[in-house]
């Protein structure tokens, strides 16, 4: 069966490289970012490799460059130097018109929830599906499922102002997760929540992480970092000063 053999053997070499790439969901290599109106680089020579399914905390003082890294990963900003690879896409070389397709493989959660005030929880989640062209039948099936998953069963038809902060953040997580992204980015998702609510959100993110979703989370919350004992990358002045598996806030 020569055809079968070549079929298996031929892509082996490329398959090796591909496997390495697939293992690293995120690769940042020599990444620099200097905002034009800033007097110093916000991110400087950052090298990070993050595996599939990893849960990584980015910590560091204010102005360290954590949010800038999130923006670089979202392709809201482009680095001045270095390469960023997410999944099998070279984000630095991504053409403008391909950016939306790229973002569909990423979920994102922020400190300020970013929900649409005139839409219910279910509609907010459905909106994310609707605008990327998913048929309504898909939304009808998937939205209640994901809201159940984040613990909002029974509150689908509440408007954001009828939900607590923690519940609003759950809606945001549901919206970020509804497309089953490869990668979930969270920039201080518990920044506006009290400690108990924060723990609940962390449990939710932990559950999502267990589905194989890679999670990158920026936080200032030492309790969370110390309790979770996951990989910790500490940034100062745009540079990595610590990269520790099962780390603490320090």
């Amino acid at each position: 069966m020569p055809r079968y053999a070549t079929h298996v053997l031929e892509p082996l070499d490329r398959g090796g490289a591909l496997a390495a790439r697939l293992r690293h969901v995120i690769q940042l290599e020599g990444v620099n970012k200097h905002y034009p109106r800033s007097n110093r680089p916000s991110v400087e020579d950052v090298n990070v490799f993050i595996d599939k399914g990893e849960f990584v905390f980015f910590i560091g003082p204010t102005g360290a460059g954590k949010s800038t890294i999130i923006k670089l990963l979202l392709r809201e900003e482009v680095p001045d130097k270095g390469t960023i690879t997410v999944g099998d896409m070279d984000v630095t070389k991504l053409r403008r018109w391909k950016v939306p397709a790229y973002r569909r493989s990423i979920g994102c959660v922020f400190q300020d929830f970013r929900l649409l005030p005139n839409r219910t929880a279910a509609e907010n989640v459905a909106f994310a599906l609707e605008v990327i062209g998913k048929p309504r039948s898909v939304a009808r099936r998937v939205v209640p499922e994901v809201l159940e998953l984040v613990g909002l069963g029974g509150k689908e038809h509440r408007y954001p102002h009828e939900l607590s902060g923690g519940e609003q953040q759950r809606v945001a997580v549901a919206r970020a997760f509804v497309n089953r992204p490869l990668l979930l980015l969270a920039d201080e998702p518990t920044g506006n929540l009290d400690p108990d609510t924060s723990i609940e959100i962390m449990r939710l993110l932990d559950r999502i992480s267990r589905t194989g979703t890679t999670i990158v989370m920026v936080t200032h919350d030492s309790n969370i970092v110390n309790q979770m004992r996951r990989r910790v990358i500490e940034i100062e002045n745009g540079q990595i000063v610590r990269d520790q598996a099962r780390g603490v806030y320090g």
Binding site: A101, R103, R104, P117, F127, E130, V131, I132, G133
Partner: protein, 291 residues
Amino acid sequence: MRAKYVMSEVFLGLWRNISMTVAMIITMAVSLTMLGAGLLLYNQVDVIERYYQTNLEVVIYLDREITEEVTDQIHSDLRSNQYVAEVEFESKEKAWERFQETFSESEELIASVNSEVLPAAFRIKLKDIDNAPLLIEEYAGRDGVYQATNQREILDDVFNILGGAQKLTLIVALVQGVAALMLVANTIQVAAYSRRREVAIMKLVGAPNWFVQAPFVMEAVFAGIIGAIFAFGTLIAAKVFVIDGQFSNLFSLMPPVEWNSVILLLPILAGIAAVISAVTAWITLRFNIKV
């Protein structure tokens, strides 16, 4: 379903900013009316030219004391002239008849004119009316000729007036058009601001760029098309009430403005308005919504 979303966003956007929408539509309508009028005039000049091409003639008026020999001499010379296609002699009596006919409605004028005053004339059709100046030059100074005139020159005056009117309408159309486009740009900016949350989320979750931009562009296109419809209505009204109505006497001297060319304005104006509005909206978005 996505189309439904876009449409509801379009109408919501136009409604939320209703005063701006109205201003946009009005300026758009004025601009397009002027543009439409300008196009009609342009077309009319063409129509008139074609209409008169076959009817224009050179008229050579003869001295009142002219002898019959000289008249016959001129007549035969004209007949053998290379430019001339047809010559018709109009005697004093015939000239008087024609005069009475032309001004049959103003008896006072007829009464005030002595029938002897009108000269006899040769009415000449040329093979090519553009050669009229050459013929006139040849005959103007000749014995027995009182005056040689070219109707083409009278028509040129008409063309000058039409051309001037056309320039005026186009200038107004341009100025109003610029104002309309600035309003479009402003409306889009306001709309982009009031929809900034939706836009931010759409970009975050990876909605395609065209989809993010569609409601804004459609808003501008919609306003443009409504403006074009108003402009069309105004032009129809102008034809019915002004050209065919109140001033129909004035316009009877030239061929009528045809319904066909008026009707044709609707798709032309709507198309121009839609395309220019869309482009303006799209350019405005490029500055207001960063990818």
